[in-house]
Assembly symmetry: C2
Homo-oligomer: 322 residues x 2
């Protein structure tokens, strides 16, 4: 398995404790999740119906401000798994550094994968991948720059897994343009990564093919029921976006007090440059707070946002320890 | 979408009522499901860890009496979706009539698909598919006959979605033989189809490839938690198997009283020959009981088993109506 956040197993093996003892800041998953509420017995027992799946797609269209075709899948990751099969293998270019699954999944099935540092260098690719805002460094691209790139590539995939807080960045409203495909994650912003729900938004031909590849029942009854409710809850989304914005400032201040420099971030995570990320990770781990380091970038430490006040307190205490 | 059971939307459109008003006997899903219980907040929120997924695999190995490599996916259907990509397209032969997704999924990506009527006619195929016990007619094949076929095909897929009641039929214990791949469904016997959980069991090379294609988080936290609990609950499985066996006899007697002939069946569904299956379906539908008919076989009516006693009463009343 490739290096990922959320690998709390590793934290437990190295530093002890049960999963519940840890504050997992190694991912960009909201730690104050949308309230799950009751799940109906029908959602557990029955095969999801066409009407239920259509209702989820409609809720996603409304939340993501688009009229383009949508298909729900078991997380944005499930869409990534199918990307290599949307076209015959060719040249894929990925704006890097970014989420490592793209390069892994594509090269595993024969794509020629090149990582590039600038948007312009994606031109000429059969398949171009941009994560916007980017994970882990928060780098953002204006919709107009991405649309200008569109005619210069075969297919442009924009992963908007961390775009919930910044709707003005989203190309979802334009997703039915030929060659454009947008990925959205449900689990991160709504804090329900275990539910496994994400969406592809694009032109009818691509969405039909993704739907055919993922089969008649690609998501669970609970994902449909909770997803519909959460995606329609504009009030919760607004309050949450405001809280996350405040919490980013708060975390940046704590990091700055440590002498760490903000490299960038999105509304659910922050990336800091530290003198020694490994040492910083270990220091936090002794307080059972898990963080993300990067083998390729030994100074980078990525932190998700603490949730309840008690978690902020524990983070403050862990940082002050020597 | 291909013709399936569980299409209650269609029943509602044609005969009215809300989903909860209906007794859905159009599938082979146990209507007295395993009790879901509490789902932990961690199961909803966190990405499933490697250790949690490994525990689920171990529970599946124990329940299915095998030591072979296992991978959990979002239903047996999710394994079917990946089958065409386990090898380059070639000649697929399917023992028919059977579950229609196999032919559909394989032919969609360039496999040459042939449906055959006898086990022997599968020989020579690059990919051979046998559903055992078969859906919808309950036809069964002895493990020794299937093992004799194994060296005569490139890959032999045995779909054991309805084998929970008949462990003596299962080839799961032999699943690590080269060329053999076993599919198991969790949702049908445990009555939790909305959970989306199924397994592939096979040799390490095939299971590794399926795992790579389905990505790091192929099933939900709830599926892992509930799946682990249910698969380890031998008492529930035993009591349920015994009840289903009694209920099959009871349903067959009710059908016989209608003059319907038993074609065959498995522990979760029965297939009857009726003078006019469409008319029988409509008669039941007026009592808000949904059943399965087959466009290719106008006399076939498939019924799942009612659950609570009140459902048996309603079925009896619907059958007696003229």
């Amino acid at each position: 398995m490739r290096e990922h956040g959320g690998n709390l197993d590793l934290a437990q093996q190295r530093f002890g404790g049960r999963a519940d003892d840890w504050i997992d800041l190694s991912t960009g998953i909201n730690r104050l999740p949308y309230p799950v509420g009751e799940v109906s017995s029908r959602a557990w027992s029955a095969l999801p119906s066409r009407a239920e799946i259509d209702a989820l797609h409609q809720a996603a269209r409304q939340a993501y401000r688009t009229r383009a075709p949508v298909v729900a899948m078991g997380g944005a990751q499930a869409v990534i798994q199918l990307l290599p099969h949307l076209a015959s293998p060719g040249r894929a270019r990925i704006l890097a550094p970014t989420y490592n699954e793209y390069a892994g999944v594509l090269s595993a099935v024969g794509w020629d994968v090149q990582e590039v540092a600038e948007l312009d260098a994606l031109a000429g690719a059969d398949l171009a991948i941009v994560v916007n805002p980017n994970n882990p460094d928060g780098r953002c691209h204006a919709p107009k720059d991405l649309l200008a790139l569109l005619p210069r590539v075969g297919r442009l995939v924009i992963d908007e897994s961390f775009a919930d807080g910044v709707p003005q960045l989203s190309l979802a409203p334009e997703a039915d343009r030929l060659g454009l495909l947008i990925l959205r994650s449900f689990g991160k912003f709504f804090g329900l990564a275990g539910l496994r729900l994400g969406f592809a938004i694009g032109n009818a031909a691509d969405i039909d093919r993704l739907a055919a590849m993922s089969g008649p029942w690609p998501v669970s009854g609970a994902a449909i029921a909770i997803g519909c409710r959460a995606l329609r809850d504009d009030t919760w989304a607004e309050v949450t976006s405001e809280r996350l914005a405040r919490d980013c400032v708060r975390l940046d201040e704590m990091a700055q007090a440590q002498g760490w420099r903000l490299v960038g971030g999105a509304s659910l995570f922050r990336l800091y440059e530290t003198p020694d990320a490994q040492a910083a990770q270990e220091k936090l781990a002794h307080g059972h707070i898990w963080s993300r380091v990067f083998a390729q970038e030994p100074t980078w430490l990525r932190l998700g946002l603490p949730g309840h006040e008690s978690e902020w307190t524990r983070l403050g205490e862990a940082l002050e320890r020597n």
